[in-house]
């Protein structure tokens, strides 16, 4: 009867459609738990601290950061790439699995997409505040002007970045919202308060759920998702080109685009894992987020971790194989040994070694282990970006210019601020937006929960 075959139980408990609605929406229909307020407070404080740090930066100048003549990019770009990476997986997850018709995505995709949007927002902040003259940021757009007209440099990866990231932000937000329409309609229809109903009425764009709408909706979703899939790859490839088009040892690498994309998926999946575990535990949504889901992410992470490991190995091998003194120095004397050895080995350990624990089923089935490792992976991915940005810049071609880089409190606060922004965003999301795609859950409910019957 159903055209698509599925594997495993995706939704446990043999639920009725009404139960699904009930349980998913419980998080926002019931009173918010205490921890929500607590977390909200913590993240808000972080966010405000970040805003203060950003305000100081704009007021006084980039001098407040630890950057210098050599390491002109520091934490800001590290964090930017890190957030973009996290922001990637959300959509990658949702879209790749949509295109591949993997039905187990349904419990997770909404949260993953939300995560994407907030992460990309956080990421987008950095290139902005990173500018020396943010008030002239509009120069970066090729708009008709009275300067000749003078356009922009279309060869600059940074311009590609602007185009790609704004497209990506728009596309992923649109995709996320599009997916949300039917669920917002559900919320609307269930809301008792008039104001809430009005708000959700506007938000749900007048969704009803007629078959014609569903058809158009599905086609649109597949098209948007379908073109967004290459976009996901393109965006992080372009971010990689920020580095790869340069001449610096450790940057000037053709492996970068795929390596960055895989890295992004890696950190993004890890972040999805973190988030899903939190949701699963906090809202007792065990029936929707099953061990099967987590297990699947765990398997993917193991695989991606292997790719990461071999990427690191490839980089090092090519550095040696090229025989270029600068390359050799950067990898062997600056990263593997030397001043930045800690960051390098932290990266390798967190990204390539620890995730190998997922080979063990026990680890994959342990919520705690999954949670810890997912956090470790994101720490490792941060170190990876640190490695790329800082080590290459601090010691490059002319030893006379070599210099170390140390972040200042302002930079740390800015970073915390973006974590705060992300946290606040996620908290608002789980409180006000159906955090699982109910319509899709319902779609897969019957075929997947009854398979064992």
């Amino acid at each position: 009867m159903y055209k698509k075959s599925v594997r495993g139980i995706l939704i446990k408990g043999n639920k009725t459609y009404g139960e699904i609605t009930e349980q998913v929406l419980a998080s926002q229909e019931k009173k918010a738990p205490l921890w929500w307020y607590f977390a909200m407070f913590v993240f808000s404080v972080m966010f405000l601290a970040g805003i203060w740090a950003i305000a100081m930066t704009i007021k006084e100048g980039i001098g407040l950061w630890g950057n210098n003549n050599n390491v002109a990019w520091g934490w800001a770009i590290i964090n930017f790439v890190w957030w973009i990476g996290i922001g990637h997986a959300g959509t990658a997850f949702s879209i790749f699995l949509l295109v591949l018709r993997q039905r187990w995505r349904t419990s997770i995709n909404r949260a993953a997409e939300a995560m994407t949007v907030f992460a990309v927002l956080a990421a987008g902040l950095f290139p902005m505040i990173h500018m020396g003259r943010i008030w002239n940021a509009f120069f970066i757009f090729p708009y008709p002007n009275t300067r000749g007209p003078l356009w922009v440099n279309f060869n600059s990866p940074l311009f590609w970045d602007v185009v790609a990231i704004s497209t990506y932000l728009f596309t992923s937000a649109a995709f996320w919202y599009l997916g949300m329409l039917p669920d917002l309609a559900t919320v609307r229809d269930r809301s008792k308060s008039k104001i809430k109903r009005k708000i959700y009425d506007i938000a749900s764009f007048g969704w009803v759920g007629s078959a014609r709408s569903w058809l158009r909706y599905e086609v649109t979703a597949v098209i948007v998702g379908g073109v967004a899939a290459p976009l996901v790859i393109a965006v992080h490839s372009i971010v990689a080109m920020d580095f790869a088009t340069s001449v610096f040892p450790g940057w000037h690498t053709t492996i970068f685009p795929p390596y960055f994309v895989v890295g992004a998926i890696f950190s993004g999946f890890a972040m999805v894992l973190t988030l899903m575990i939190v949701i699963k535990v906090a809202f007792k949504l065990d029936d929707f987020v099953t061990e099967g889901h987590l297990d699947a992410i765990g398997r993917i992470l193991t695989f991606v971790s292997l790719i990461m490991g071999s990427s690191y190995a490839t980089e090092i091998f090519i550095a040696w194989y090229s025989g270029v003194e600068g390359e050799m120095f950067t990898f062997f004397h600056n990263r593997i040994t030397g001043e930045y050895a800690f960051q390098f080995w932290a990266m390798v350990t967190c990204n390539a070694i620890i995730p190998q624990l997922f080979w063990f089923k026990k680890v994959r089935r342990s919520l705690l282990m999954l949670f810890i490792i997912s956090i470790i992976i994101n720490i490792g991915m941060w170190f990876e970006r640190f490695n790329i940005v800082v080590t290459s810049l601090s010691k490059d071609f002319l030893p006379a210019t070599w210099v170390e880089y140390h972040a200042t409190n302002i930079e740390i606060l800015t970073y915390l601020g973006t974590i705060g922004l992300f946290g606040v965003g996620v908290l608002l999301f789980i409180r006000y937006i159906p955090m699982m795609a109910m319509n899709e859950l319902k779609m897969v409910n019957k075929p997947t929960s009854t398979i064992d019957k």
Partner: protein
């Protein structure tokens, strides 16, 4: 271009002109007098165009609107425009710099009545158009708001008529009672001033003049007197020397006339004109000096060993010349080979020593005489007159003052209260002197104890003349009206000596009476005078005299004491002048304070330099604070090249009364010198150094010192070069052969600018750095920011140490590495990596091959900085203009007058870099167009090229066939830095050739 003008009065009007300094963004232009109040009000009131602001738009638009607000700009013309001033056109006036220490003949660039740049005077046979870092920076000292701005009487504001009356009365009384009046002056090379002193002495009988130099060269003169019978310094001709041996003598950096010597020295090292030969330079020294860093063979020795080496050298040569030999201990260095080499180049070698010790100078004289160098590489026909101080006379004076025997003391251009070995004694003596008058331009360490201070003009505000060598004259003329209520010292003296008129007339009279007759070109004195002022110099032949003979009898007269060598203690201390600060006269000059030391690359501090091995043995680490001779506390700096067992400290720091910038920077090391009651000595043979346990951060602009085996500075030896001109530069051809591109290449229809740097001539003196800073309005950022490694200099000198071994504890690595200096400025790459990445197209290539940086387009992504392999891009991390946190020279209206109005002052958040002085290129292009002719080769001279005393830099058009630049580019030594990256740089470096035997490195075996 050089013009002269008649009187300073005309300039008084100049300040009326609204002379714009270009600020980075839409900030109101800054007029010389600053914005007056009415103007500011007007500016605020004007909301003509602020359409969006009126509507109360969103924050973004509001900020946009406010940032774009255009205030009413006033254009205030002159009341009467001085004839020679055209707003927007620079005038150049010849002038002369002499501060009692350095001499240079100059051309001063003046815009709208403001001197803004110092350039060398090509007409001078002495400095030959060269300058030094300090002289380049001297223009900023003109605008030093910490100069004494009005006369002082007992520390209170006073006026000249009161002071003149007081001083004249008192001097009259003293003269009447037969008291003693002393004019204490630094060396005076102005013949007019000397005559003025005579007139003063005539007016007040019983007065005398005592000359005092902060850094004493007394022993040389004494030795010359004793052995050659000439109480003068000779003229040196390094350009005639094939072998140069220096003993603790920084003749390229600080010794006597370094600009002149650098130029001479560089001539002997020039290989571009087909030479296959160059001079060989040996250096024995007790600290790593600029000169030592350029030496082909360098021997690190302790100060106590210098005499032993010289004795041995003398003995060897004397022995071969069958003369009597002297008693000598064993030399720590084998000098036989050096001595043989010297003897095989008769009259083509030169031995110099910078030690203020008579016996050492006698030995140097003896060796030079035995090698027949007199008349060849040094001669007494011309006498270098820029060091005339007499230690003996000064020591006597201080004693007499303390005994109360001096009644009046007039101090001109001296600061013994700071730079005398026993400053306290001098100050005490001053207190016992009835009348003390200071003619210092600052209320400095000495002047603040004086009864009267009549602040002297800056040299750019004064008329003066100079005679650095006999019969080589130059003139200084004022280029700006007095900024403050100051009076030229000479005029003060004239007032007290009762001479009518001003000093200008006095000089003119002197010239008419004494110099006019020495020439026959001009029949009228006014013509002669005008012409001399215009050219800045007047040179006539010196009388020929017989070459003096060395008086070997001196050794008998001196007796056994002569050969006695004072043993050194565990630690020996050397005091030296740093390249940037020198004796500390311009310690309040932020450009100099921020100028990296050529060796240590440290800024804003002095320190105790120790060799790595010695530091390790003593348990000292970088930045550990130590107490030297129980008097001053300074941080340790690990300095390869410092001999084992010695430490060195720079003089000139630790000023307490020089102004906001220099006060309290470093510690005063003059007090560590020694005096034996006669000669002052700047090395202390047994110093004590104790660790205090504290640390003190030092700011350096370079922390990695070796090239990691990369081909950054290429070098070879003369022997290899003679066989293969591309020696050491083999990879250049390989790289060029493999150079491929997939893109079509751009055409440069007109000129394509390029710059060549000859490593053989570059001594690393840093003059270009300050020259560039002055020309291009480069900000000073202070120690903290330098420590954050954000120095703004557009041209920097990278200094590398190289050795054949990399064993860190070997004596060679620790005490005697070879040194390479590499000036790095923007390479103006044709395939610039920085251009590709700028998202807003603020970095582009022009049709003349320049890498243009458009400050007003820049949004500060710093991507270009990241992508520049040469690291020459600079970012404005803060707002450096009008920011109290950077209270150097961008923060007050007076010092902002030094800004070059043709160059924008960059805003916060904007990237900047060297542009090959595009403003100068444009200026000369326009001149050529106006004159309806093509540009001449060498017509355009960027600031760095101009400042260079050795002509190591050549600028020109690579598209012009046969240009000087192309000759260098086609030289087989030429290569581009990091050319394998295919950046196609427009700067080429010429491989360094060392005149050393392969594998031989001056080495000394210490246990």
């Amino acid at each position: 271009m050089k013009k002269y003008w008649k009187s300073t009065e005309e300039l008084s009007e100049m300040v009326q002109q609204n002379s714009p300094v270009r600020t980075g963004e839409q900030e109101p232009e800054f007029s010389v007098e600053g914005l007056d109040e009415a103007e500011i009000k007007q500016g605020l009131k004007s909301n003509r165009r602020d359409f969006l602001k009126m509507l109360g738009f969103s924050v973004g638009f509001a900020s946009l609107a406010t940032s774009c607000e255009t205030p009413v700009r006033k254009a205030i013309p002159y009341l009467t425009k001085p004839e020679e001033v055209t707003p927007g056109i620079a005038n150049h006036y010849a002038s002369t710099y002499f501060d009692g220490h350095d001499y240079a003949s100059l051309v001063v660039k003046v815009r709208e009545g403001r001197p803004i740049k110092i350039e060398g005077n090509e007409l001078s046979s002495i400095t030959q158009g060269g300058t030094s870092a300090r002289i380049q920076a001297s223009v900023l000292s003109l605008y030093d708001g910490n100069r004494q701005q009005f006369p002082l009487k007992n520390g209170e504001h006073s006026d000249y008529s009161t002071i003149d009356k007081d001083v004249k009365t008192k001097l009259g009384e003293i003269a009447a009672k037969g008291g003693k009046t002393v004019i204490l002056s630094s060396t005076v090379i102005s013949p007019s001033t000397k005559q003025l002193f005579e007139a003063f002495k005539e007016k007040y009988p019983g007065s005398e003049v005592v000359y005092y130099d902060a850094i004493s060269y007394s022993a040389m003169k004494k030795a010359n007197k004793e052995t050659f019978g000439k109480k003068t310094l000779p003229a040196y001709h390094f350009d005639n020397a094939e072998i140069i041996v220096g003993f603790n003598c920084d003749f390229l950096g600080t010794w006597l006339s370094p600009i002149e010597f650098s130029a001479q020295y560089a001539k002997t090292r020039d290989l571009t004109n087909g030479n296959k030969k160059m001079s060989k330079h040996y250096q024995f020294e007790s600290y790593l000096s600029l000169t030592g860093s350029n030496a082909d063979v360098r021997y690190p020795i302790k100060p106590s060993e210098e005499k032993t080496v010289l004795l041995n050298l003398y003995n060897y040569i004397a022995g071969k010349s069958s003369m009597d030999i002297l008693k000598a201990g064993k030399s720590p260095v084998d000098i036989s080979k050096l001595a043989d080499e010297l003897m095989s180049h008769p009259s083509k070698s030169l031995i110099v020593s910078g030690t203020n010790d008579v016996s050492i100078q006698v030995l140097v004289n003896g060796i030079n005489f035995l090698l027949a160098n007199l008349g060849g590489t040094l001669e007494f026909e011309r006498n270098l007159q820029i060091k005339n101080g007499c230690d003996h006379a000064f020591a006597n004076l201080v004693n007499e003052m303390n005994e109360g025997k001096v009644d009046a003391l007039i101090m001109y251009n001296v600061n013994p209260g700071y730079d005398y070995v026993d400053a306290e004694k001098f100050i005490n003596g001053m207190k016992k002197t009835g009348l003390t008058v200071s003619l210092s331009s600052k209320n400095d360490e000495t002047a603040k104890h004086a009864n009267y201070v009549c602040p002297d003009n800056h040299y750019l505000e004064s008329w003066n003349d100079a005679e650095p060598y006999n019969n080589l004259y130059s003139i200084a003329q004022p280029t700006i009206h007095n900024i403050f209520d100051t009076r030229q010292a000479q005029e003060s003296l004239m007032a007290w000596a009762g001479i009518e008129g001003n000093y200008h007339d006095f000089i003119q009279k002197y010239w008419e009476e004494n110099l006019f007759g020495k020439q026959s070109e001009y029949l009228l004195f006014t013509d002669f005078w005008n012409n001399s002022v215009q050219k800045g110099i007047f040179e006539t032949d010196a009388e020929t005299i017989e070459c003096p003979l060395f008086d070997f009898d001196y050794f008998n007269r001196a007796g056994a004491d002569f050969t006695k060598v004072k043993a050194g203690g565990d630690i020996e201390l050397v005091l030296y002048e740093s390249i940037a600060i020198g004796p500390g006269i311009m310690a309040n000059n932020p450009w100099l304070q921020e100028l990296p030391d050529p060796m240590s690359k440290a800024v804003w501090d002095n320190y105790v330099a120790v060799s790595p091995r010695f530091a390790k043995d003593k348990g000292w680490e970088q930045e550990d604070v130590v107490k030297v001779n129980a008097s001053i506390e300074l941080p340790i700096l690990i300095q390869p090249g410092q001999p084992y067992g010695t430490v060195s400290i720079a003089l000139g720091y630790g000023r307490t009364d020089c102004g906001k910038v220099g006060n309290g920077i470093g510690k005063n090391a003059f007090g560590l010198g020694e005096t034996n009651g006669d000669l002052r000595s700047y090395s202390n043979l047994s110093a004590t150094i104790e660790k205090t346990g504290e640390t003190y951060p030092l700011a350096t602009t370079q922390t990695h010192h070796d090239m990691k085996g990369r081909e950054i500075v290429k070098e070879t030896t003369i022997a290899e070069y003679a066989m293969n001109q591309a020696a050491g530069n083999e990879s250049h051809k390989l790289t060029m052969d493999k150079s491929e591109t997939m893109y079509p290449e751009y055409e440069f229809p007109g000129a394509h600018w390029g710059l060549a740097v000859d490593f053989n001539k570059c001594t690393g003196c840093n003059a270009c750095v300050v020259g560039c800073q002055a020309e291009n309005n480069v900000a000073v950022i202070g120690k903290e920011e330098v420590k954050n490694r954000r120095i703004m200099h557009w041209i920097r000198i990278d200094r590398y140490f190289s050795t054949e071994t990399d064993e860190i504890n070997s004596p060679v690595v620790s005490e005697n590495p070879e040194v390479l200096h590499q000036p790095v400025m923007c390479q103006q790459c044709d395939n610039a990596p920085c251009e590709n990445v700028c998202p807003v197209a603020a970095v582009l290539h022009t049709k003349e091959g320049l890498n243009a940086m458009v400050y007003n387009r820049c949004i500060g992504t710093r991507y270009c900085m990241n992508n520049c392999p040469y690291r020459v891009r600079r970012f404005n991390w803060y707002r450096y203009l009008d920011n109290d946190k950077f209270d150097y020279n961008f923060n007050d209206d007076i010092s902002k007058m030094v800004l070059n109005p043709d160059v924008v002052v960059r805003e916060r958040g904007v990237n900047e870099k060297c542009t090959f002085c595009v403003q100068r290129i444009q200026e000369k292009k326009l001149v050529a167009k106006d004159e309806n002719r093509p540009l001449r080769d060498g017509e355009i001279i960027p600031a760095c090229v101009q400042a260079c005393p050795t002509k190591a830099l050549t600028f020109g058009d690579t598209n012009l066939k046969g240009s000087e630049l192309n000759k260098k580019f086609e030289d087989q030594r030429a290569y581009g830095l990091l050319e394998d990256l295919h950046t196609v740089p427009s700067v080429q470096y010429l491989t360094k050739v060392r005149n050393k035997d392969a594998g031989h490195q001056g080495e000394k075996h210490h246990s």
